[in-house]
């Protein structure tokens, strides 16, 4: 994928000003590339118009897979493959299979969901993120606006909109 190179950055100090700014800038018809924050800002994803994450659904499906695998494994091993009488109980001692089924449900759900999260957010040890402003992991919120994506809007209007909505600094950033 060809990535765009030239951005305008708005630097914000406060999360509430940031949220209002996102609303105003989107209302002005400017497309926001992404907002980078040092911590999760609640409600920001709604202002940016992101769809709710479907990770919980993934977790549920992985959990279901874990339960199924665990029960199938235990019934197969204990009832069909090598039945043994243990403690005078039925070969298929269903209540005894619950603890392991529970643990494997949690295990598969957790690892499955985290794997999906890592892949979908492109998190990997050799990952090289594009850092727009080093302060975005420290104390500033950084709003990045892609110039190519907003070709219809004049640059000065974007910069003015950022300033008016409360950005403490407006910078531009180009990547190689």
């Amino acid at each position: 994928m060809e990535r765009d190179k030239n951005f305008i950055l708005g630097i914000f100090d406060d999360e509430d000003i940031l949220k209002n700014a996102v609303r105003e800038i989107r209302a002005a018809g400017i497309k926001i590339h992404e907002v980078f924050s040092p911590y999760p800002v609640h409600g920001l994803e709604e202002e940016l118009g992101y769809r709710r994450s479907r990770l919980p659904i993934a977790a549920f499906l992985f959990g279901l897979l874990g339960t199924t695998l665990a029960l199938t494994m235990q019934f197969y091993m204990m009832k069909f493959d090598w039945p043994m009488i243990i403690g005078g109980k039925d070969h298929a001692a269903f209540p005894d299979f619950i603890p392991v089924s529970f643990e494997l449900t949690v295990l598969v759900a957790a690892f499955g969901m985290v794997t999906v999260f890592m892949v979908s957010s492109n998190l990997k040890p050799w990952g090289q993120p594009r850092i727009f402003d080093l302060r975005s992991t420290d104390d500033k919120h950084v709003m990045a606006i892609d110039i190519a994506n907003n070709a219809a809007v004049d640059l000065e209007i974007i910069k003015g909109a950022l300033k008016n909505s409360g950005a403490t600094e407006v910078n531009s950033k180009s990547f190689e």
Binding site: S37, H42, A59, V100, L104, F111, I131, L134
Partner: protein, 454 residues
Amino acid sequence: MQVTSPVRDPLITGGKTYKDVTNDIARHVEGKPTKGWLLGLAVSLTVLLLGSLALVATLWEGIGMWGLNKTVGWAWDITNFVWWVGIGHAGTLISAVLLLFRQKWRTSINRAAEAMTIFAVICAAVFPLIHMGRPWIGAIWALPLPNTFGSLWVNFNSPLLWDVFAISTYFSVSLVFWYIGLIPDFATIRDRATGIRNTIYGALSFGWDGGAKTWMRYESVSLILAGLATPLVLSVHTIVSFDFATSVIPGWHTTIFPPYFVAGAIFSGFAMVLTLMIVTRKVFKLEDYITMGHIELMNIVIIITGSIVGIAYITEFFIAWYSGVAAEQYAFVNRMFGPYWWAYWSMMTCNVISPQLFWFKKIRTSIVATFILSLIVNIGMWFERFVIIVTSLHRDYLPSSWVMFYPTITDVGVYMFTFGFFFTAFLLFAKFFPVINMAEIKSVLKSSSEKIIK
């Protein structure tokens, strides 16, 4: 917008800004190790090395090196195992249960508590592993793999096998939960660093960029992991208690064990968190982040769980009497007045009486008293496991086989090994990882700090 009652005390004192939070916490990762830290590491490594002698002796000679005999077949090994697993309960409880209950004060302590959990579970796992004699074979036998002679499987009716699944799931899920929380903080350190540190923390941060979409997914993952980890925490000590409760030994065969063990685990886990955090906040000067308010809240959790444990002890006695089973009644009378009376009364004093002192606000808000009581609680919890295990076994059905249990130097050494490991690991964590979750502190700063920014 978050609305917080103005009546509540601030969670973070000292009027910190976002920048201050980063500086205060990242400073310890970036600076040179202090003398105190080096000294602590030297002591823990010495304990670890001395303890490894006992570990090697156990692996070389076998578990005959321990003080076990034909009547008392389980003693220090499983006592230490249950004790460490119990300590390992606070971390995930703080990060998962308190997250679900929206307790914001957890943000200051969750990172260190989770690290403690992970190290404590590793210490616990040492005991079941080495008691197998040849762990490199035994560890394979514990997994559902066919054996060399055909497909004879592990026994899924056995609580010992449930334990294998419970402990390994708990360990790995806690590790993932902890690491996901560390990623944004590693990115913060990466962006402050240059050279080799930038490369290392860059790899550790998995290329985190802090975009709103990633944060949204991160929040979603944290919430679901918390939801999964909450029943998991409760299940782990429940299953550990099944190791005893499903047997037919008088003193072990009781249905009260699961809730009683879980309460005891939270009790000892919080005590260990307090022990470590009181030292950490002092050494790293984090008094503004881990305030008296945090310590008091943890002490309140200790009163509650300590009282649950106390009621459980009394209930056990009542039920033993009420059951009318002579063997059961004898087991309990023997605990109280038999040859191990001192262990029983140490347990009662440390676990039931001493935490009640926290009803006094003066004691609850005193650093020294909290530190001493947190140590006492963990001594008491060790005795609780010793009492349950050894005194229930040492006088079995034939009076001719009644014996006492005496630990050997190897028993002591293996226990020392786990202490050495625990403190070495915690010290390394405290130096190289951010001890407080910076991102989460920043997210509660605006609503809970003393000085509201703007």
